[in-house]
Each structure stands twice: as C-alpha cells, then as structure tokens.
Symmetry: C2
Subunit: 188 residues, 2 copies
C-alpha cells in the first residue's frame, strides 16, 4: 500500500490534535511531530495553522456521517438515536471533544474565516437533523408540537454540552442522560 | 477608595481572559498586562497559571448567583428562567464563554486538579437546579415524569452548547431556542 502523502499525514495529525488538545494547544511543531514529518514541510502544504484548521474542519465534518440521518431505510427516531450513538462510540475515553465545539470555545471569536466555517458545520448538522425530526413527526414517532429546526439546534447544543460534561466527569453518565432525556422526555 | 490589591487585580484579569480566550491562549504575560502589573509579580501571588485558574474558577462560580435558584420567594419555573436570563444577559456580545465549559474543552484532559474543580462546579450547579426542578414538580409547574437530577444535567449541558453555538453565530438565536425548548417543550 502506498504511503499517505505528506499533506495527508499532516492533515490527519491536525485532526487528531485539534480534537485532543483544541486549537491553541496544538502547535505546528506538535502537528508535524505527530505526522512524523519535518516542521518545515508544514508550510509547503498549508499557509498557516488556521488554513490547516479549515481543511481539518471539513474532513472532520465529513466523518460525522450526516448522510446517515437521511437514510430512509431506518425509522426516523431510530436513525437519530443511531447517529448520536455513532458520535458517542467514537469517544471511548471521554478525552476528545467535538471539533465544532472545541473551535467554538477557542477560536471563533478570533478568526472570522474559521467562525464562518464552524457556523456552517453546525448549520448543516442541524438541517439534516431537523429533516429527520420532521420525518419522525410525519411518521407519528415524534411529538407534533415541536418545531423541527429549533429542536434540532437544541439537540446539537445539548450534545456539545454533553461532551464537555463527559470530559470533566470521565464517565459515560452525561451520555446516558442525553439519550434518556432526548428520547424519553423531549422528542417522544 | 483603596486600590485593589495586586493579587486581586491579577485574579480579575485572569477571570476576564480565561472567559475571553480560554485557558491556553491566556498567557501569564497577557494576564499581568491586563492587570497592569509587572509580569514578575505574578509568581509572588500564584504558583502557576493552573493555580490562578483554580481560584478564578471559584470566583467565577460565586458570580453565577446559584443561591438565587433556592430563592423561595419566586415560583420555581420563573426562578429557573431568571437564572438562565441572568447568565445570558452577561454575554451581550456573544464573545465570552462559560469558564466551566471553556476549561472542559481545553484543560480538563491535561490537569487532574482543574478537572476535579470543573466537575465540582458542574455538579454544584446541577444540584441547585435539580432542587428547583423538584420544587417545580411539587408545585405542579413542571412535568412530574421528569427525573430532576438528570434533567438538571441535561439543561446545564444544553446551556453550555448554547453558548458555543452563540459564539459561532454571533446572534441571540441559540439563546431564544434554549428558552423556547426548555420552557415550552421540556419542562412544562
């Protein structure tokens, strides 16, 4: 198998370190060390850490499997549940956040291009989730009184806070609470 | 009026910068510059930035006015609403997070003493909120089927995510959604 290109190695290391440490604590040297490439090679591929972060955010967004939220073969509530289970199961050690959330906490106030990308990521996620909620209402699975779009935003916000809580707790309690309240009290 | 002590100036600047920039991007020199004191004076008062952060977290927690959640003179749901309105109204420019959330995103994986303090802050907040929810149930204002403790955790998590979203959006939309879903769909 061909070795991944140096650019790809740097991008992969950037995604990992932005998730583990956030934006500010992941230095260019940390990223090239993790990638196993010389520090100088970074700037052959990316103009700045901010430029890498923009591509890393896109890569991370693609890995969220948002299209699963539109999979008509699975009933809507089950589909929404599996989506959040997938996101939870990526985080077995409660030590990595969500890149959208990490960047919101650290960098959106200080980089307008990254802010717009983070906002776009949140919006895309909420849109897909809102569509699944609306389908669940049509199927009689979700309370008809809920407005799908704000409900979707609320759920993504509750999820982001759940990740923060799980990192502080180092237990799965916050995830268990997220699933119980979301599926037994809010949606149905 | 007597000038605040140097230690107090440093602490105040630390609280501000941890809220504005988070833990990692607020350097000791940034903090002493903001406080208007020489950098060297920092270590006369605090052993490290981590030690300052621990005190700043406590100071910030005190400023959350959690005791208002136990004010028996105000009906429970109104009390809970005013609590979150107070937290919202502190953030007119959508550019400062919550210190608990900022530290969860950035530092709890890397400092066990700070992790335990952040966890303690979240737990104390949720406890006070759970008590108010339970009172609301006794008063017939809040759905009896909700378990107060997990519901309180869910609300604080939704709030933390709401702050992240508001920072990415730079609008009050996420706050409006928080209030609508929390008070019109989840609690009542």
């Amino acid at each position: 198998m061909a070795r991944r290109s140096m650019k790809e190695e740097i991008l992969g290391a950037g995604v990992d370190l932005f998730l583990e440490r956030g934006f500010n604590a992941a230095g260019v040297k940390d990223i090239t060390d993790r990638a196993g490439v010389p520090k100088g090679s970074f700037y052959n591929h990316f103009e700045s850490k901010e430029a890498l972060a923009a591509v890393a955010l896109e890569r991370y967004g693609d890995s969220r499997r948002l299209s699963d939220l539109a999979n008509q073969e699975i009933p809507p509530v089950e589909r929404i549940r599996r989506h959040f289970e997938f996101l939870r199961d990526e985080l077995p050690d409660f030590a990595r956040g969500c890149m959208f959330g990490n960047f919101s906490a650290e960098i959106v106030d200080h980089s307008e291009p990254l802010r717009l990308r983070v906002k776009g990521s949140f919006d895309q996620w909420s849109e897909m989730l809102a569509d699944a909620i609306a389908e669940g209402q049509e199927a009689g699975e979700i309370r008809a009184s809920l407005d799908p779009r704000p409900t979707a935003h609320y759920l993504t916000n509750a999820w982001e806070g759940t990740l923060l809580q799980a990192r502080a707790d180092k237990t799965g309690d916050a995830f268990a609470i997220f699933f119980t309240i979301t599926f037994d009290a809010l949606l149905t």
